[in-house]
Symmetry: C2
Subunit: 429 residues, 2 copies
Amino acid sequence: MKIVGLITEYNPFHNGHQYHIQKSLEVTGADAAIVVMSGDYVQRGTPAIMPKHLRAEMALKCGACAVFELPVCYATATAELFALGAVSFLDQLGVVDYLCFGSECNDLDGLTKIADILCDEPDEYTKFLKENLRAGMSFPTARQDALSSYMGISDCSFLLSDPNNILGIEYLKALRRVKSRIQPFTIKRMESDYHDQTLRSTYSSASAIRSLLAYSSSVLQTQQVTGETFENTPFSSILNELEDQVPKSCLALLKDYHKVLYPVYQNDFSLLMKYKLLNKTPQSFIRYMDVSETLANRIQNNLNDFFNYKQFCELLKTRELTQTRINRALLHIMLGLKKNNVREYMENGGHFYAKLLGFRKDRQDLLSVIAKKSALPLLTRLSDTDSISEIGQKMLRHDILASNLYQSVITDKYKTAFRNEYKQPMLKI
Amino acid sequence: MKIVGLITEYNPFHNGHQYHIQKSLEVTGADAAIVVMSGDYVQRGTPAIMPKHLRAEMALKCGACAVFELPVCYATATAELFALGAVSFLDQLGVVDYLCFGSECNDLDGLTKIADILCDEPDEYTKFLKENLRAGMSFPTARQDALSSYMGISDCSFLLSDPNNILGIEYLKALRRVKSRIQPFTIKRMESDYHDQTLRSTYSSASAIRSLLAYSSSVLQTQQVTGETFENTPFSSILNELEDQVPKSCLALLKDYHKVLYPVYQNDFSLLMKYKLLNKTPQSFIRYMDVSETLANRIQNNLNDFFNYKQFCELLKTRELTQTRINRALLHIMLGLKKNNVREYMENGGHFYAKLLGFRKDRQDLLSVIAKKSALPLLTRLSDTDSISEIGQKMLRHDILASNLYQSVITDKYKTAFRNEYKQPMLKI
């Protein structure tokens, strides 16, 4: 039995994701697709629009055989650490033969060459890079230019400017770094640009779909969403629009859980964020992942102008500090994720358990294989964590806190019953 | 110049409070009334319905010459500690000659006798008390019965059952304890029963007025308020009702700041409370003021049934744990007020600054007298705290955090600009 691993966010799940699953099975010839997915928070440093169990259910209904949760410290990290966390997870799972990722370029050789250079850092490349930096270029520009010079291509910006190419390079770097036996594949993304806000006929971006869902609940939310205006559109019309964008089996879930479990926004955490920031000093901010001294001081100096979470993140932005970096930094402060936590995890192998969100009953055989081959304890119930090391317990507590917080926000927003992470049943589809 | 000190909450200010100020000046013959008032949180363990600056402004407009803020650790404490904190503050202010408090009984001699017995704990009284406790009586009943037996009155329950009598006894105990030269007076309360929820012709309880204000904004709040229903009453009608209940000079403020600065409820802090509880262990709960081991365990065991702040407090109630006690305990967890904080403060004199919320410009002379005679540094600007001891700085940080939190909730609820406690101007009326 051959297995392909997929690294995903599904925020939310749409046609492009279903295509990714199917095409991955096709190009690799694998018998099953196993997914490692972000939990309730995603890589751009924000809460996911809907909870992980709902997103996992959609994936299972659309072809994934099992969905595992990526620990929150990796799910919300920089592209490099996100990729390393996800790839090393699939590697340690012990059963994954292939990794298949979507990219804009669909050029595995090109991406691999770049990944190798970035790993090996040959002298000539390093020389170009240093010269460029000395000439005052920003790091991304300097790196891109140094790569072009070294590889002899007049301009490799087409490979380094698209977000999924960049992520692909990081996956390839990570595979090398952990000396994985997993074989990489790439397919061309069928969805539109990552940042594209408008709906396409069948393959829109997750971002465009989030905008659509956001407008369907504009009464509830205070944040502005750029893109087309659906302000006065009733949810039934939104569902009609979504029919072309998400698999049929997901539509019922989107309908049933609208304003029950989702949408969830950054600004739903405004007061929590503010509370946490008021309770801390700049010195203590620096202990959290992605918080530099400059950012810590900016947070402190601008705290009086905190109006809501999103607005505050935008307020902190500078030429040097990107929006995503700031989102991540603040999220890490709120979730209590410290630099030395991640350092400790990485020094001890990076993973300590494989938390299963759900699986397909008709592929239960996979679980037996994983339980036998995996280097990680298979975690199906949070009440049963005896096999997890002490450091793993610490990592797990962070995951649980993050999810309980997310659930609390849902409870508060939609006046629904709170479901503690300990009580969340594993999905069996 | 003779000065009378008043201990207040003004939650919110009403005719009964104005009467209290006027009558206090009259019965004591004092030239000025100085007020020490709770900040943004009150003694029953909840946030005040409106911020302290607004409540202080009303008091200044209605006869108070200066309003000082009672530190939050005393403002939200048990009756005994609340009284000790407030009385010792007035004492250390160095200029207060009289303390005048409202009581249901208007019997200073009767209250003083009881206070003396409770302070001296004569053997015979202690014997009665122990017997009663051994017989299985609850502490309040046992104490009441022991006092009756000792004093030879068939039943002194009329003195010990009314909340303002009880508070009066605590003031008298505190005056003895700090060996104060302040002379106590009492006047009969003109307002209706503390717990009375219905409006009276002119002197309603603060509780009834809070209910009225709550219903005027029932769309915004999720908590239930018992009492008459004003659900569909527009705010203009509510204001008409209030005309008979609050001084004219307060009406404009109530009108201007409705849904701008108030009303604020316990449930506006639901998510913050939940966040704090999720982040802690039962062992750490016990460190906070008013949290017993039993309560800490109840909190932990019921956390999954946290729906909102008020509902959770009600859920935790038992025969032994009163609602107010639970309110206070949870508030102290949220505000980070620990048992050893208060112990340290008490061991060092209890007060380290006199924080002035506002004063009447025509009585500026008072401030000079206070600045000269007071044992406490007069704090008029938070940027100017050099004269405050290190332990005082710690106490002040708790006060500031509590107020910034309250302001953040207002900002979040009414989408108004945040005003950091450091930027709050002192009132000059």
